[in-house]
C-alpha cells in the first residue's frame, strides 16, 4: 500500500483534550475513570467519562445548542485535528477531504431523551428537535456542516475495532482519487441506559477500578491521514506513517465477547502483509487489553503465534480510558504521538497480571524501541483489527 502519514490528531478524552496532556496523564499513570453509581439509572460501576468539556472555543454557544454531546465531541476533535495538520479552512479540502467516523453509541443521548418523552408522556410530546440527532451519523454530519466539508462522509458502527475499518475506508477514498486526505476516527457518548444494558448482559464484568472487566468510555478522536509523499511535499509535520491495516472477525453470538486468537492473528498478519514487513520488524505494541481475561488470553496467544519470543515492548490505554469505538481511535492516535516523541507510556492495566512472551509490559514510561509499532483493536461481537505505524 502507498504509505499514509498521520499529520494531525484531535482528541476529546477522559484524560483530557490536548495531546500533550493525554500523554502526560498516561505517563503518570492517571486514569480517567469515574464512578457512575450515583447517576440516575446507571447501576453501579465505573466508566471513562469526559469531564469539564467546553465546546465553546470551537463551537459558538448558539450553534452548540443544536448539537448533541457526541456531536460536540466530534466537531471539537475534528477542528483540532485539522488545525494540527495545518489544513483547517483549506479551500482545496472543501470537497477533497473525506470523513470516516466509527461509533458504538452516537445518537444514544437524543434517542433516550426522545423515548423517555414518548413513553412517559406521549408520542406527540416527544421533542422533534432531538430526533435528527438520534441518527448515528449525526456527529460526522455536524462535522461536515460546521467545518464546511462536502466530500464523502461515512459513519461506521462497530465496537472498538471499527477504527481499523475506518482507516481502510479512508485509505480507499484516497487511493481511489475521491479525496486527497481523510479525517478518520471515532466518537462515543456515555449513556446511563447503555451502562445498565451492558451491565445486565454481563459485558461489564468487574465493578471495581483496576479489577477485571471492561469499562465503557466516551469522547472523540480524529486523525488526519494523507499520502506520506504529499504530506512531505507540503512540509507537514508527520507524526507517524500508517503502513498496514488488517481486519478480521470471529463468528459467534453478536452480543458476547468472542475471544479468538486466530482472528486476531489473521488481522495482524494482514497488516504485516500490507506493510510488506516481517514480524521481526515490529518492536512495540499497543495492546487491546480491556480487562476481560479471556480476550487478553486470546491476545497473548495471537501475539505468540505471530511474533514468537519477541520481545515486544507493550503498553495499552484502556485501563485508563475504558473501551468503546473511541478508545480504538485514541489508541492509534496515542501510538502516532508516541512515534513522534520516541517514547511510550506505561501499560495502564488490564486483567492479566503477567503476559507471556513476546509481551514485555512497560511499568514506566520508556524509550520507543527500534522497529514499527503495532496497535491492536478488538471489542464486543468478534471484531478484530491491527494497525502498523512507523
Amino acid at each position: 500500500m502507498r504509505p499514509l502519514a498521520v499529520t494531525g490528531v484531535g482528541i476529546v478524552s477522559p484524560l483530557g483534550s490536548e495531546p500533550c496532556a493525554v500523554l502526560a496523564a498516561l505517563d503518570q499513570g492517571q486514569k480517567g475513570l469515574v464512578a457512575v453509581r450515583d447517576a440516575p439509572l446507571a447501576g453501579s460501576g465505573w466508566a471513562g467519562r469526559v469531564v469539564d468539556f467546553d465546546p465553546g472555543p470551537v463551537i459558538p454557544p448558539m450553534r452548540a445548542r443544536r448539537l448533541d454531546r457526541a456531536s460536540q465531541f466530534a466537531v471539537v476533535a475534528a477542528h483540532r485535528a485539522l488545525s494540527a495538520a495545518g489544513l483547517l479552512g483549506e479551500e482545496r479540502l472543501r470537497r477533497g477531504l473525506g470523513v470516516v467516523m466509527g461509533t458504538s453509541s452516537a445518537g444514544s443521548g437524543p434517542l433516550t431523551v426522545f423515548l423517555e418523552a414518548l413513553y412517559r408522556q406521549s408520542p406527540e410530546a416527544a421533542p422533534p428537535f432531538e430526533f435528527p440527532n438520534t441518527v448515528a451519523n449525526a456527529p460526522a454530519s455536524h462535522v461536515s456542516i460546521e467545518l464546511k466539508l462536502e466530500g464523502p462522509n461515512t459513519t461506521l458502527a462497530h465496537s472498538e475495532a471499527v477504527t481499523g475499518m475506518a482507516l481502510v475506508l479512508g485509505r480507499q477514498m484516497i487511493e481511489d482519487g475521491r479525496v486527497t486526505a481523510a479525517l478518520v476516527g471515532a466518537v462515543d457518548e456515555w449513556n446511563p441506559y447503555y451502562q445498565l444494558g451492558y451491565e445486565q448482559i454481563g459485558a461489564l464484568r468487574g465493578q471495581v477500578e483496576g479489577g477485571g472487566g471492561s469499562l465503557l468510555s466516551e469522547g472523540a478522536t480524529e486523525l488526519v491521514i494523507e499520502p506520506a509523499d504529499a504530506a512531505e511535499a507540503r512540509g507537514a509535520r508527520v507524526l507517524a506513517r500508517i503502513l498496514g491495516v488488517g481486519v478480521a472477525s470471529a463468528a459467534g453470538e453478536p452480543y458476547r465477547w468472542l475471544p479468538d486468537a486466530g482472528a486476531l492473528a489473521q488481522a495482524i498478519r494482514g497488516a504485516l502483509a500490507e506493510a510488506g514487513m516481517p514480524a521481526e520488524a515490529v518492536g512495540s505494541v499497543f495492546l487491546a487489553a480491556n480487562g476481560v481475561e479471556a480476550m487478553e488470553r486470546a491476545e497473548a496467544e495471537a501475539l505468540a503465534a505471530v511474533f514468537g519470543a519477541g520481545p515486544l515492548a507493550a503498553t495499552g490505554i484502556k485501563g485508563a480510558v475504558g473501551e468503546r469505538s473511541t478508545s480504538g481511535a485514541l489508541g492509534v492516535a496515542v501510538a502516532a504521538l508516541c512515534r513522534a516523541r520516541h517514547r511510550l507510556p506505561p501499560y495502564a492495566g488490564g486483567s492479566l497480571a503477567s503476559w507471556p512472551a513476546p509481551v514485555r509490559l512497560l511499568a514506566a514510561p520508556g524509550e520507543l524501541p527500534p522497529g514499527a509499532t503495532l496497535v491492536l483493536l478488538y471489542g464486543f461481537g468478534g471484531n478484530y483489527a491491527a494497525v502498523i505505524l512507523s
Partner: protein
Amino acid sequence: MPSFSDCPIVVTGLGAVTAIGAGREAFWQGLIEGKSGIRPLELFDPAAYRTQTAAWIDEAALDLSFLGPRDRQRTSRADRFALAATREAIADAGLELGSLPPERLAVVLGSGAGGLIEAEEWFGKVALSGRLGQVREILAHGPDLVTNRVASWLGARGIRSTVVTACSSSTLSVGQAADLLRAGLADVVVTGGSDSLARLTYGGFNSLRAVDPDPCRPFDRERKGLSVGEGAGILVLEREVDARRRGARWYCRVAGYGSTSDAYHMTAPEPSGAAGARALTSALESAGIDASAVDYVNAHGTATPHNDRAEAAALHHVFGARAARLPTSSIKSMIGHCLCSAGAVEAVATCLTVQRGVLPPTLRWESPDPECPLDVVPNVAREQEVRVALSSSFAFGGNSACLVLSAE
C-alpha cells in the same frame, strides 16, 4: 486500487424482504403489478401517533424455517429480515457456503434502528418504572448486531462493516462492498441492509410532521410526506473475473458509486439541488459513464415536499432538460421508506430492472408538480431496455449516495 472499469464488480445474488413481498420474485412481481404495502400499522398501537399507517412486514409470510426456535427468539426483526434475504441471495448466487474460504468472505451492511423495536420494550420499562426489562430485549439494540448476526450465520471471518449514514446507509454499503473487492480485500461480499420499524423512527418522523396520514405520493403536487417502511435487501457481489471463472450468471454490474456531504443542514436538503447533484455526478465519474448514457433513475423520492423538489432539481442539474423525459420512479410509493435499508431494497429493484427491462412505477401520481418536472413512470410499470441505471439516496445529515448499475 483498480478502477471500476478495470475491475468490474457484478451482482450474482439477490434477496429481498419487503412489505409487498417476501422473497425476490414476490417483491419483483409486486413492483411491476403496482402493489402497495402501506396499510394500517399493527406492530404497536399507533393510536397516539399523528398517523396510523406504514409499510410493515407480516413475519408470518417469511420462511424462517432455517432458524431454530432459540435463534428465532434471540434475533430481532431486523436480524430475521436480513437472515432471510441473505439465505435467498446466497442460494441465488449458487454459492456453497462451506466451499468459500471464510477469511475471504466479507459482510458490509447498512442499518440504523436495527433491532430497536425490541430494545424499546426495555427502554420503556426502565423509563417508566426503573425496573429492568428482559435481557433478550436489550440484546437486539445496535445496528452492528445485524451485521454480526449475518456474518456469524454465514461463518464469515473476513471484514465486517456496518454503515450507519441514516437513509443512505445501504446505498453506501453496496458501494463500499465493491471497494473491498476492487482492493482485493475479499473475494465475496454479502452487502445491502436491513432495518425494522420502531417507535422512535415512526414517532420521530411524525414529530417532524413528515409523514403522510395516507399512503405517500412521491413527486405528486399534493404530496404530504413519507410512509415509513421496513425491510431488507441483500446483494452478493463478486469480481466479474471470479464470477465468470466459477460459471456464475449475474444480474448487472456495480459500475460505480458516489458519496458526498451537503454540509448544509441536518434535515433539510440543499434546495438548489446542486449538493444532491454532486453525489450523482461523483457516481458517474467513478463509473466513467457519461450522464447521457443513463436510461433510468430509481429515485430516493420520499414524497416530502422539500425532498422531492430538491431531488428533481438535482436531476435537472445532472441531466439538463433531458431530466424531464428520463424515467425516474420512486418505489417508496409501494414499500414505504425503509430508512436505512431503503437503498439496498431499491438497489435490488434496480438490479432486476436492468436485467428484465421493466421499470417499476410510482404509485398514486395524479397531479404534475411544476417543481418536479420528471417522467415518474406514473402508476403503471413500463417495458424499456435499461443499460445504465442510477439508484440514489439522500439522508439526514446531508449524507448523499448514488449507485451506478449497468448491464455491462
